[in-house]
């Protein structure tokens, strides 16, 4: 028997040792190569053009440091973003990840712009419906399929300008402002605050006359909606909707407590010319920066039910030209990371999370505005799941402005709106 294999001469290496050594060197080299190999770079489109964009940049930098995944962001105004998605995705030029508003999900899903996410993938990545508020989780679906995952919840809230409230005698001895508990009370208080160039109440940010989100909120509070429950016809001529339109008409024309259309309500509030302001939660960090003395309280119930308009941001995966597993996994990694770190997003960007997990964070519950936003979470409602929602909103804008400016009586305007909505193409 040849034993040469087993004979180890001094200073020499056995074959087994050599093979083992070579293998370990090989494994180490492979591991080094794998580690050195650049992680995927993904493209991410969003419309976070305000201060929230800077916060997103910070968090993405952190994400890249922790995971090695690079993100190339493209940020443009929401309306432009949606037009671009609609054009770019069918051409195979879409991003790997897009942040969109809930009401955009149905039409993008219907037009094949978004990729459906199956339940197994959602669960496998650790996303479960019970971790989210129902309105936000449900908003990511269309016709029974999931197309997106909610991140946060921009929503309405009532801001009270303490200077104006004090001047109007609506602050108690305890320093707390009076909060309207009904529509009549709101009008009475607003009348008390309105004088010369100061207005008691406004709903909307830059042009209250065209503020569809505010109008929707009032419709929902009165149990009405843009479409009927079966989504087949316009619901804006239902008695409950007409009642809301009448209130919309009365605010500037009869009660005269709101600023004219085309007013920047945000600037008016900052300048101390507006007392009570229903507006988006995204305004509060700017108000703090501007050092406005204000208090934020939950959206008051002005009609039948305490509904709060909400428009959750949703993470979606636009259909790629060709499947790229590495990029998709990297995009999922970012969504997971943001969901796990959503408390940071809430604290810095001022948007409360769709996921319940961060709601108990003491840093969040310790902030009075965030606390007020969370308090109204059970009342969140989103737009109806129809691909026509956005188009219906576009035709609503001039109609409600015509009511607000007194160009058209409320009933006639709503009948005209119903005709326009019913005529929208499929």
């Amino acid at each position: 028997m040849d034993t040469s294999d087993h004979v180890v001469e001094p200073g020499s290496v056995s074959r087994r040792a050599f093979v083992a050594g070579a293998a370990s060197v090989g494994v180490a080299a492979w591991a080094r190569r794998a580690a050195a190999q650049p992680k995927a770079t993904i493209t991410y489109w969003n419309g976070l053009t305000g201060a929230d964009g800077k916060v997103m940049d910070e968090l993405i930098d952190r994400f890249t440091r922790e995971t090695g995944i690079r993100i190339e962001q493209q940020r443009l105004p929401w309306a432009d973003l949606y037009a671009k998605l609609q054009v770019a995705v069918p051409a195979g030029e879409g991003p790997d990840l897009a942040l969109i508003h809930t009401v955009e999900v149905p039409h993008f899903a219907n037009d094949g712009v978004l990729e459906a996410i199956d339940d197994a993938t959602t669960t496998g990545k650790g996303f479960r419906g019970e971790d989210y508020l129902p309105a936000t989780w449900q908003g990511g679906t269309f016709q029974g399929k999931r197309y997106s995952l909610p991140l946060d919840v921009p929503q309405h809230i009532l801001y009270l300008n303490m200077k104006v409230m004090k001047d109007g005698g609506l602050v108690g001895a305890d320093g707390r402002p009076r909060v309207p508990a009904s529509r009549d009370e709101l009008v009475t208080m607003a009348k008390r605050l309105t004088k010369a160039d100061t207005f008691g109440f406004a709903i909307g940010t830059v042009n209250p006359g065209r503020y569809t989100w505010g109008f929707h909120n009032l419709l929902w509070q009165n149990g009405a909606n843009i479409y009927s429950a079966d989504l087949k016809r316009a619901g804006v001529t239902d008695p409950a909707a007409l009642e809301v339109a009448g209130f919309w008409e009365a605010l500037p024309n009869q009660h005269k407590v709101v600023p004219p259309a085309n007013t920047s309500c945000r600037d008016a509030f900052i300048a101390g010319r507006l007392g009570m302001w229903i507006a988006g939660s995204w305004n509060f960090s700017g108000l703090r920066e501007a050092k406005v003395d204000f208090v934020a309280v939950p959206m008051p119930r002005l009609f039948k039910q305490a509904v709060v308009w909400a428009m959750p941001h949703q993470y979606s995966f636009p259909k790629p030209k060709a499947a790229d597993r590495a990029k998709r996994e990297a995009a999922w990694a970012h969504v997971r990371w943001m969901t796990d770190n959503v408390a940071e997003w809430t604290l810095k960007a001022g948007q409360v999370s769709a996921s319940r997990k961060a709601h108990g964070d003491p840093r969040i519950t310790g902030d009075p505005v965030l606390r007020a936003l969370l308090a109204q979470a059970p009342s969140w409602q989103v737009g109806q799941p129809t691909p026509k929602w956005v188009a219906a909103e576009n035709v609503t804008r001039p109609v409600i402005e015509a009511i607000y400016t007194g160009q058209k009586p409320a009933r006639a305007a709503m009948e005209d709106l119903a005709r326009q909505i019913n005529a929208l193409p499929d």
Binding site: Q86, D111, T263, D267, A268, P398
Partner: protein
Amino acid sequence: MSRQTRVAYAFLAPGLLLFAVYRLYPLLEGLRLSFTNARLGRASEQWIGLANYTRLLEDGRFHVSLWNTAFYTVASTLPILAVPLALALALNRGRLRTLLRSVFFFPFTLSVVTVGLAWLWLLDPVVGPFNYYLRGLGVPARSWLADPQTAMWTIILTTVWWVTGYYLVIYLAGLQDIPRDLYEAAALDGASAWRSFWTITLPLLRPVLLFVVVTHVIGSFQLFGQVFVLTGGGPGDATRTVVQHLYEAAFQNFFQFGAASAMAWVLFAVILVFSMLQFRLLRGHTEY
């Protein structure tokens, strides 16, 4: 074909190619789309003949847009002709003319969005300085852009402010082309400045006036930026223009490229008719 002609075509070819690819093809493709139900996101498109055009006959908002656009075009033409001309006459001579020309030209260097946002703030009914000073004068503040009676006039005012500098420069170039000896001869004959203006300046500025009117009318029919930023077409539809209607059909409401292309071709036809009318009315040979 002579060698010279071939060389000429060779030099023209790159330009013609670009024109064909980026101008002619989109134009003709738009015409084709206008006879279809093309919509982004729809798997296929069908030939629907003149349906997009006949639908425009029933589209009340399109009629309003067309009327608003025509109103803007007519109402803005006189100030656009007169204000820069008056300034040009004032600045044609004088020590500070170079500085003042730059001052007047400055607004035109701004983008339409910048101009729109600046005026939006200036005219804000609550915090805008315009209303602040009016209140100081005892005039009640009003929302110029939210009142259907004043909204379009306010847009015209902002546009005149914006483009005056551009037309001023064109007028000045035209004025400086008019031989001085004509004015001297008129003065010797005892003509007043007013008479010189009517009998020398205006007739000899005819080519410049034609250019200003034609370019302004074409631009007016395409009015969009100012309206989009200042009023969004409101209040109601009081300042809604054809291009805004077209834009919304194409990019906001279901990406109806077929319907939007039909609107674009109707607009094209209107502009063509107006331009031809202007050429016919203002044509004439001008000799110095």
